[in-house]
C-alpha cells in the first residue's frame, strides 16, 4: 500500500528522477516552475486560493494543516496587495528555497533523502534519491499510476490525478510517463481529451506553468 502523498510530492517524483540519478528530469528553471504550480494547485484544490484572470485571490483565513502551504498562504495574503500576478508567484515559488521545502516533505515522510555535494565535491547540484525499498515504491507510484490511468483511459474530471497529469503535461513530461512508443500516440490523444475536463479553477494554474516555462525558453533561461 502507498500512503497518499500531497499533489506536489507526487509531482516532485515525476519531475525528479528519484529512482536512479537523483537529478531533475526537467531543466532547473522548468522544475522549479512546475513544482511552484503544484504548490499553488494544492492551495486552489484546498479552496484557500483562487486565480482570477491572471491574478491570485486569497479566499479566506482558514489555514491549511500542512505547514508549507500555511506559510505560503500567509505570505501570499500579506504580499498580494503588491504582487498578485500568477506568473510572479510561479517565479518566486520556483526558486531553490521552495524546491527544497517541497523535497523536505518527502524527506520527513522517509520517502527520499537529500544528497548534497560535499565540501570538496566537484558536483554543485543537490540530488534527491529514494530512501529505502518502501521509498522506491512510493517514488515510482505517481508515474505508474498515471501510466495505468492513461492506458486504461481512467482520468475522470474529479480525479486529483487529472491535475497531476495536467501539470506534467504543461512541463512536457508526458513522454517520460508514456514509455511505450507504440501506445504513446493513442494515450496522448486520450490525455488531450481528458484535459478538456480539467476543473476550471485549476486551468489558469496549469496554463501559467506552461506560459512561464515557455517564457523561460524564449529568454534563454532554461
Amino acid at each position: 500500500m502507498h500512503a497518499t502523498q500531497p499533489l506536489c510530492s507526487d509531482l516532485f517524483n515525476l519531475v525528479w528522477d528519484t529512482l536512479r540519478t537523483g537529478r531533475p528530469r526537467l531543466h532547473r528553471t522548468g522544475a522549479g516552475l512546475t513544482l511552484a504550480g503544484g504548490l499553488l494547485a494544492e492551495l486552489v484544490l484546498a479552496e484557500c486560493l483562487a486565480v482570477d484572470g491572471e491574478h491570485l485571490v486569497v479566499l479566506g483565513h482558514e489555514r491549511p494543516r500542512d505547514p508549507l502551504l500555511a506559510d505560503m498562504l500567509r505570505l501570499i495574503a500579506g504580499e498580494c496587495g503588491r504582487h498578485s500576478a500568477l506568473l510572479t508567484w510561479l517565479d518566486y515559488l520556483g526558486r531553490e528555497e521552495y524546491i527544497s521545502r517541497v523535497a523536505d516533505r518527502l524527506i520527513v515522510a522517509g520517502v527520499i533523502v537529500r544528497d548534497a555535494p560535499g565540501r570538496f565535491s566537484l558536483r554543485r547540484d543537490v540530488r534527491y534519491v529514494h530512501a529505502s525499498q518502501q521509498g522506491w515504491a512510493t517514488c515510482s507510484w505517481p508515474a505508474t499510476r498515471l501510466r495505468y490511468a492513461l492506458r486504461d483511459r481512467r482520468l475522470a474530471p474529479g480525479d486529483r490525478d487529472l491535475v497531476l497529469a495536467a501539470l506534467a503535461d504543461a512541463a512536457e513530461l508526458t513522454t517520460t510517463i508514456l514509455e511505450d512508443p507504440e501506445e504513446r500516440g493513442r494515450q496522448q490523444t486520450f490525455l488531450r481529451q481528458a484535459l478538456q475536463d480539467l476543473p476550471a479553477q485549476i486551468q489558469p494554474v496549469v496554463a501559467g506553468v506552461r506560459t512561464a516555462i515557455g517564457k523561460a525558453v524564449l529568454t534563454h533561461r532554461t
Binding site: R25, L26, H27, T29, G30, D52, G53, E54, V57, V58, L59, G60, H61, R74, L75, A77, G78, E79, C80, G81, R82, H83, S84, L86, L87, T88, W89, D91, Y92, R95, A171, E172, L173, T175, T176, A200, Q203, P204, A207, G208, R210, T211, I213, G214, K215, A216, V217, L218, T219, H220, R221, T222
Partner: protein
C-alpha cells in the same frame, strides 16, 4: 477582492527583492545583444567584402546614418516594450499595431530573415578558419567541409540547448572588441599621405558621401551590422527595471555598433587611401584587415585575431540558430505553426523541432552552394547576409508603421514626440532606406543593373508576406480560437484561460 491577513504585516517588498536578484541589468542585456552581433565577423568579413563588392567608400557614414535612424526608431520601439509582452519583437509589435494578418505575414518574413542570416554565416567560416588550418597543419580544406563541421557542432549544441558559457562569451567578445580597437589604432597610426589619402579618407566621413550612386547597397551592409539590436526588448520582462534597463541597453547597443563599425570602416581607409581600400579588399577579401594589420603588428597578435574571427563566426551562428529556434517555438505555441514546433526537450528546454528544421535548411543551402561551386564569401556570406539585412529593414519598417498606428489608438500617458513624431520620422526614413536598398541590390549581388536576380531574391520576402496573409486567412476560417492568440507567443496559453 483581495483579502489581507491581519497577522502578516510586510515591511519590505521581499518578493520583488528576491526576484530582482535574478533579473538582468543594462550590462547583461547589452552583452546579449552584442554577442549575437559578432563584431569581428562584421569587421573582418562584411566590411572588406562591402568595399570590394560595391566599390563605394561611404561605408563609415552609412553606419553612422543607419545608427541614427535606428536610434530614432528605438524611441517608439522601447515604448512598445513597456506595453506589449513580447515573443519575437518585430512580429509581435506588428500584430498589435497592424492586426493579426500583418502579424502572421511578419512572422513568416521573420522566419525567412533569421534563417537567411544564420545560413549566411556558414559561408564565412571557410574564409575564417582556412588560413589557420593551412598555417598550423598545412591542410587546404574546401570551405564546405568546414561549413559542415560547424553545422554539425551548431546543430548538436542547439539541440542540447547549449549556449556558449556566458563567461567564455564575455571573454571572446572582449577579445573581439580589443582586436578591432587595436587594428583601428594601428591603421590610424600609419596614414598615407600619398595622393591625398588622408583627405580622401576624411571626406568619407562627410554626410555628402551618403548621396553617391549605390548608397542603397551601403545601407543594406550597414543594417546587416546592426542585426541583433532588436533583441534587447525580448528581455523586458526579465530586466531589473523594465522602464529603464531595456531602453538604455537598446540605445547603448545601437551607439556601440554604429561607432565601432563606422569608425573602423573609416580607419581602414587611412593607411591606403579611399580608392586603394577598394582594390585591397577586392584582392584580399576577408583577409584584408589581417593583411593590413600584419604589416605593423607581431604575427602572434594576428594569429590570435584570426582565432577570434573563427570563434566570432561560430558564436554568431550558434546565437542566430538559437534565436531562430525560439522564433519557431513561439509561433508553435501560439498556433501559427503546428503545435509540435511549440514543444521543447524537457531536460534541456531546447526547441527541438525548431532547431532541427533550422539545421535542415542550413544543410540544404550548404550542399546547394557546394554542388554549384559558388564562391561562398561574396555569395552565401555577403549576399546572403545582406538579404537577411534587407529582411530586418523590411521588418523594422513595418514595425515603425505599426508603432505609429498602435500609439494613435492608445495615446494616453505618452508625449507627442515619443508616440507620434519620432516613430513617424523613423517610419519615413526606414521606408526611404528600404527603397534605396531595393534599387541598388544588384551592387550587393555583383550583377548588372536590371539583372533579374536583383529582384528575384528580394521577391522572396513578398512571397513570404503573401503566404503569411493567406495563412492568416486560413487560420481565421479554420481555427478562430488560435487565430485570436497570434502575437502572444508563450503567453498564448494563459491568455486562453482569461475567460475562465
Amino acid at each position: 477582492m483581495i483579502s489581507r491577513s491581519p497577522q502578516y504585516l510586510p515591511q519590505a517588498d521581499r518578493i520583488g527583492q528576491a526576484l530582482a536578484r535574478n533579473r538582468l541589468g543594462v550590462g547583461s542585456v547589452v552583452f546579449f545583444v552584442l554577442s549575437a552581433a559578432a563584431p569581428l565577423t562584421v569587421v573582418a568579413g562584411v566590411l572588406p567584402t562591402g568595399y570590394a563588392a560595391t566599390g563605394i567608400t561611404g561605408l563609415p557614414i552609412a553606419f553612422l546614418a543607419v545608427g541614427t535612424v535606428l536610434a530614432l526608431f528605438a524611441v517608439g520601439y522601447v515604448e512598445m516594450a513597456r506595453r506589449v509582452a513580447n515573443a519575437g519583437a518585430f512580429y509581435t509589435y506588428i500584430t498589435h499595431g497592424l492586426g493579426r494578418p500583418s502579424g502572421v505575414a511578419a512572422a513568416w518574413v521573420s522566419l525567412l530573415t533569421y534563417n537567411t542570416l544564420q545560413v549566411a554565416l556558414y559561408g564565412g567560416i571557410g574564409a575564417a578558419a582556412a588560413p589557420l588550418l593551412a598555417d598550423w597543419l598545412g591542410w587546404d580544406l574546401p570551405w564546405w567541409l568546414l561549413a559542415l563541421a560547424m553545422w554539425l557542432l551548431v546543430g548538436s549544441l542547439g539541440l542540447a540547448r547549449v549556449d556558449i558559457n556566458g563567461k567564455i562569451l564575455a571573454l571572446l567578445l572582449s577579445g573581439e572588441v580589443a582586436v578591432i580597437v587595436l587594428f583601428g589604432l594601428t591603421n590610424l597610426a600609419h596614414p598615407t599621405f600619398a595622393a591625398g589619402g588622408v583627405d580622401m579618407a576624411l571626406s568619407a566621413l562627410s554626410p555628402a558621401s551618403l548621396f553617391s550612386p549605390g548608397i542603397g547597397a551601403l545601407l543594406a551592409i550597414a543594417v546587416l551590422g546592426f542585426v541583433g539590436f532588436e533583441a534587447a526588448v525580448v528581455y523586458s520582462e526579465e530586466s531589473r527595471e523594465p522602464g529603464r534597463t531595456v531602453p538604455t541597453a537598446t540605445y547603448i547597443s545601437i551607439a556601440t555598433i554604429a561607432l565601432l563599425y563606422g569608425l573602423f570602416a573609416w580607419t581602414m581607409q587611412i593607411p591606403l587611401g579611399s580608392d586603394a581600400i577598394v582594390e585591397a579588399s577586392q584582392k584580399h577579401g576577408a583577409e584584408t584587415i589581417f593583411v593590413m594589420a600584419g604589416e605593423h603588428l607581431h604575427p602572434t597578435v594576428i594569429t590570435v585575431a584570426r582565432i577570434l574571427f573563427v570563434t566570432s563566426v561560430f558564436a554568431a551562428a550558434l546565437a542566430v540558430h538559437n534565436t531562430t529556434g525560439r522564433y519557431v517555438f513561439a509561433l508553435g505555441r501560439e498556433g501559427v505553426l503546428p503545435s509540435i514546433f511549440g514543444r521543447t526537450s524537457p531536460r534541456s528546454g531546447a526547441p527541438i523541432a525548431g532547431s532541427l528544421t533550422q539545421s535542415a535548411i542550413a544543410l540544404a543551402v550548404i550542399v546547394t552552394f557546394a554542388v554549384f561551386g559558388a564562391d561562398p564569401v561574396p555569395t552565401l556570406f555577403f549576399a546572403g547576409g545582406a538579404l537577411g539585412g534587407l529582411g530586418i529593414l523590411l521588418l523594422a519598417s513595418a514595425t515603425a508603421i505599426a508603432i505609429v498606428v498602435y500609439f494613435a489608438r492608445r495615446p494616453r500617458g505618452l508625449g507627442l514626440v515619443r508616440r507620434r513624431w519620432a516613430p513617424t520620422a523613423a517610419a519615413v526614413l526606414l521606408l526611404a532606406m528600404l527603397t534605396l536598398v531595393l534599387f541598388n541590390f544588384h551592387l550587393i549581388l555583383g550583377v548588372p543593373e536590371g539583372d533579374s536576380l536583383a529582384w528575384v531574391l528580394p521577391s522572396m520576402f513578398v512571397f513570404a508576406t503573401m503566404l503569411g496573409l493567406a495563412w492568416a486567412a486560413l487560420m481565421r476560417a479554420t481555427r478562430p480560437d488560435q487565430y485570436q492568440q497570434v502575437g502572444l507567443g508563450a503567453d498564448a496559453d494563459l491568455a486562453s484561460t482569461r475567460t475562465v
